[in-house]
Symmetry: C2
Subunit: 211 residues, 2 copies
């Protein structure tokens, strides 16, 4: 029924995000992008994320120096650029220039800039760095957030499903597919389920199986 | 073009996983499940994950006491059970019993057990707990992994796209949709792209990622 594997990083799906960053001076005082999948939300109050980066990466030096980075969420349209930023080093080329991307100043940050065109950008200030082994984990507080205007509905609610974000699943990029439910749907009344799931084929019509 | 938001936890999509755990003695010496979306891979070598849990949760006490937990990946079939474990407390009911789930001993762990039926289970040993605010972050090493046999191809490669995993996107659960690419596809030759992307439909790729 089950087969054992060597201990490995198979948590999936995980986010895949483009981290934009910039050092303070000299060689590091230029904008770079690194793609990371070892990223996650780690706290709600204050809002915090962690990203893990190998010491050998150019971006590691930049983030360590400035104590800042921007998490740029990745839409399907940015998927290929995202992959490119995960395989090429900023030591070899200017990724912003190569990909025709623009760096935009981010509220609350002095060095790192966001990537214009990314659906959502999170400005982050590093609170702590932890050496874990192959990767160092940057624990950071989210100090500013901006999202494309088209992602808000008429009531001003952020509708992130409109962003067509990309998930990373064991070495492959996937679009998000069918909406299966919403937080709390397993205990919601049929009326609420119907309302929240709309006319969806599944979810709304599906019977509760496991109660 | 962009609209500012208050700093908040909008990193998306994120994993949504069922964490099974068990304390050592007394009231805590029973199997429980908590659903978390604040989870991520944080290191490749050693393989490590982090999960963040509020101090008030029953599972927080169990994991703190035993220093163990199991990360159970969530398939579409388990989505509703997963949601249920995110809204109900183990103080009120036995979630395994209520959901008809079975706890299975996990290699390398003495207390926490995996959830039978989850496509992949990661046995984790806590290395450090960090108090961040609303949540405590459990940094843990993955000491054992098992996956359903049907997820392996004839060459023994783990094909995680067969697991039909669930992603969490700003309060909603989604299936994974279309395969957009593979790590390195932006710089791959047309031949490799063709071979790896197959007919373009999900699950049609024959070969898995490199490395």
């Amino acid at each position: 029924m089950y087969q054992n594997l060597n201990p490995s990083t198979v948590l999936s799906p995980v986010p895949v995000v483009m981290i934009s960053c910039r050092g303070k001076e000299g060689e590091l005082a230029r904008d770079n992008i690194i793609t990371v999948a070892w990223a996650g939300t780690v706290c709600s109050e204050p809002p915090m994320v962690s990203i893990s980066v190998r010491k050998s990466r150019l971006s590691h030096g930049m983030i360590s120096e400035s104590g800042e980075f921007v998490v740029n969420l990745v839409s399907e349209k940015l998927a290929e650029a995202c992959d490119f930023c995960g395989v090429k080093s900023g030591r070899e080329l200017d990724k912003f220039a190569k990909l025709g991307l623009t760096a935009e100043p981010m509220e609350g940050l002095s060095y790192a800039k966001g990537i214009a065109g990314a659906p959502v950008q999170l400005g982050c200030v590093v609170r702590e760095v932890k050496e874990l082994g192959s990767h160092d984990m940057f624990l950071a507080e989210i100090v500013s957030v901006r999202a494309k205007e088209k992602l808000f509905d008429s009531k001003g609610k952020l509708c992130l499903d409109r962003a067509k974000l990309v998930a990373y699943n064991h070495g492959e990029y996937f679009s998000l597919g069918r909406k299966l439910g919403f937080f709390g749907y397993s205990v919601a009344s049929p009326e609420v389920r119907q309302k929240r799931m709309g006319g969806g084929k599944r979810g709304s019509a599906k019977k509760k199986k496991r109660k």
